[in-house]
């Protein structure tokens, strides 16, 4: 009997599909970059999101004095019907403009983990390493935590999803409407940066970095592709060729961009971040984003940055861990990068 392997067709296609906008060293760089930009924005549906944009009205809901910082909760609508809850953590002491670290959770229970608040079973253990915003403010940054679309407070109430797949329903809704959750999340980050002008006495809007783990790392990468005000991107446990990660291992629906493999791979999109510094952190034992895929993709990133004329502006930092936020390594990396940029904390 013929062996039935339901995965074989897509595996074969993934291997053989020619990416029509893949980087090659002989391309006319500026033309290619413009083509990648247009196609990427089309595929993620950014125009559909823009059509639904609305004025940014910041509403401060809470100010709490914490140990060494003030925590401000605010909300704004990034598009009609999309209210974005955020926390801004401002170091205590002199009121002055400081560099901003945007921190994003992945498929945790929500962004309350970033501010070190446990709301659900399991949060307590996770926040010992997952309190990204608290870590940032302790480094001396103003930290912005954004609840990502379809996560935490913003997860669907249409059904009761488990935390690992909480994004599925809203991802599918976005697709049917001709957009993607990735596009929506990119947009939310960009509009959150607009909203930061409300807090300009605290925030140096010329010095913004973004970091996060897993789904937060993914969006650290993509949001930087969209918004040039982000000057440094440090995605953790997220950057990898689609072929070896989301096409090869069961990942969340919020990672998918319909049709993208006809045009390019994740690494080709690094041209939309260059020349700005990109420090990719990866887990050497991360089975969700396997190291061989990460390393192969990173070779292309290096070639892209070389073509851009800034070969030293990209880095790959490999930890000995699996799919894991290594806070010391990440903040050391961030500090090294901001030193190069001349930012002072």
């Amino acid at each position: 009997m013929i062996e039935i392997n339901g995965d074989l067709c897509h595996q074969t296609l993934t291997k053989n599909l020619k990416h029509t906008l893949a980087f090659n060293k002989d391309c006319d760089y500026a033309t290619w970059k413009a083509q990648v930009k247009d196609k990427f924005f089309e595929l993620v549906g950014i125009n559909s999101i823009k059509e639904n944009a609305c004025p940014i009205v910041v509403s401060v809901e809470e100010e709490v004095e914490c140990d060494g910082y003030k925590r401000i909760r605010f909300t704004f609508d990034s598009e009609v019907g999309a209210t974005v809850p955020c926390y801004l953590l401002v170091p205590s002491g002199e009121v002055k403009k400081r560099p901003v670290a945007i921190t994003l959770q992945g498929h945790a229970t929500g962004f309350h983990n970033s501010i070190g608040v446990a709301k659900y079973p399991g949060d307590e253990a996770y926040i010992t390493r997952g309190d990204f915003a608290v870590q940032a403010v302790k480094q001396g940054f103003v930290a912005l935590a954004i609840e990502q679309r379809a996560m935490g407070e913003r997860k669907t109430k249409v059904h009761d999803p488990d935390p690992i797949r909480m994004c599925a329903f809203l991802s599918m809704m976005a697709l049917e409407l001709g957009r993607t959750i990735i596009g929506e999340r990119m947009w939310d980050v960009s509009k959150a940066i607009d909203a930061l002008s409300y807090f300009d006495k605290y925030c140096d809007l010329d010095k913004i970095l973004i970091t996060g783990n897993s789904g937060g790392g993914t969006m650290s990468f993509y949001a930087t592709c969209l918004d040039e005000r982000i000057k440094l991107s440090v995605p953790s446990c997220a950057f990898c060729s689609y072929e070896t990660s989301i096409m090869n291992v069961y990942h969340c629906p919020c990672n998918f961009i319909p049709g993208i493999l006809k045009y390019f791979e994740m690494e080709d999109l690094s041209c939309l971040i260059a020349p700005r510094p990109l420090a990719i952190v990866t887990g050497g034992k991360d089975y969700l984003f396997p190291l061989d895929g990460v390393q192969k993709s990173y070779e292309t990133v290096k070639a892209v940055y070389g073509k851009e004329g800034v070969k030293d502006n990209c880095r790959l930092v490999t930890t000995e861990m699996g799919h894991w936020w290594c806070k010391d390594i990440i903040w050391d990396t961030v500090k090294e990068e901001i030193d190069k940029l001349g930012w002072k904390l």
Partner: protein, 343 residues
């Protein structure tokens, strides 16, 4: 504090989004139908599937004499790397019978159509042995294992059968196609493969039915391949707005961008003037009656515009999301009789 409702944005869009190719009474029908056809095929990515086509090379793997019919298992390759397991049930006797293509939805697989229990819990499926029912009603039956289901479920992870389609549905999107197009294509190629059996079944008389995910594909495959002479989709036809966009359905239902252009009912123009009879459960919470009836009202207008008034029907059953075999087969036989088929 402002109430955070993560669903509000898409619900607002859903309500407000203009569908550029929605049916209206004043359209130039043929022009509109062609626009719908082109856009639908583009959105589902059928070109990507066609580009990967290959010779079918059907192989007969098993022939078993059963009670009143012979069951033949055959496998063919619908596109590179995509092997399709099928069963053909041929009633005893010399008469070549019309063929009903029967499709399972999110059960454990096509074996359920044959009345075979393979997995724990299969014995609890009630009235889903579609192919055996077809034979008992005088038809031949073609059973196709749908993409991403049963034997064709992913092995990349251990998927429960209710969500077994998710991984392949999403990898299809990334590749610029949809599982929906792949399944349409598989049905069409299975009809090609039936040529091997043209001496024992009547390949000029083919219809299609199924329930839930099988009903969905009865609709889409029915409108794709004109060798299918009528379709009886069960427990699946409903506006996207009131079904897949209103509650958690499977990823294999999704067509990226569809709602910028049309609703499910608008696609009925690709079925017309072919007869279609939608069987619906009046208590079906997954495809709510209100949505079904509203969508069907548009189907009726489309059929009228196509000059095929009366060729579309909505059959109500007093059921939840569950195949009613009495009304199901009554409907199929009525449609067959209208076409002069002898069963």
């Amino acid at each position: 504090m402002k109430e955070i409702n993560g669903d509000l944005s898409y619900k607002t869009l859903l309500k407000n989004q203009e569908k550029k190719l929605a049916f209206n009474d004043t359209v130039d029908y043929n022009t509109w139908k062609n626009q719908v056809k082109d856009k639908f095929y583009e959105l589902i990515g059928i070109d990507s599937v066609i580009a990967n086509a290959c010779p079918l090379n059907p192989v007969i793997e098993e022939e078993i004499e059963c009670d009143g019919y012979k069951r033949i298992r055959f496998v063919f390759e619908s596109e590179v790397g995509s092997f399709v397991p099928c069963y053909l049930l041929v009633p005893n006797g010399d008469k070549k019978r019309p063929v009903v293509i029967t499709l399972q939805g999110h059960t454990t697989g096509a074996h359920v159509s044959l009345g075979i229990n393979k997995f724990e819990g299969d014995e609890n499926y009630k009235d889903l042995d579609f192919a055996v029912q077809a034979v008992k009603n005088g038809f031949s039956a073609l059973v196709i294992e749908q993409r991403a289901m049963g034997e064709r479920a992913t092995k990349v992870h251990d998927a429960c059968h209710l969500r077994m389609c998710a991984f392949q549905a999403f990898t299809a999107f990334e590749l610029g196609r949809t599982v929906l197009a792949e399944r349409m294509w598989d049905v069409s190629k299975a009809i090609d493969a039936l040529d091997t059996f043209k001496d024992v079944v009547d390949t000029d008389k083919i219809c299609i039915t199924g329930e839930s995910g099988g009903g969905t594909m009865s609709f889409y495959a029915g409108l794709y391949d004109d060798r299918i002479k009528f379709a009886v989709p069960g427990y699946a036809f409903c506006s996207y707005e009131t079904s897949i966009m209103a509650m958690y359905h499977c990823a294999c239902n999704i067509i990226p961008g569809a709602l910028r252009y049309f609703e499910m009912e608008d696609l009925a123009c690709l079925m017309a003037p072919k007869p279609v009879a939608f069987v619906t459960g009046d208590r079906d919470s997954l495809f709510p009656l209100k949505g079904v009836e509203k969508s069907f009202a548009t189907v009726e207008k489309i059929y009228k515009k196509a000059g095929a008034e009366g060729k579309c029907r909505l059959i109500h059953t007093d059921q939840p999301h569950h195949w009613d075999k009495i009304y199901g087969w009554k409907t199929i036989k009525e449609e067959a009789e209208k076409l002069g088929w002898e069963v």
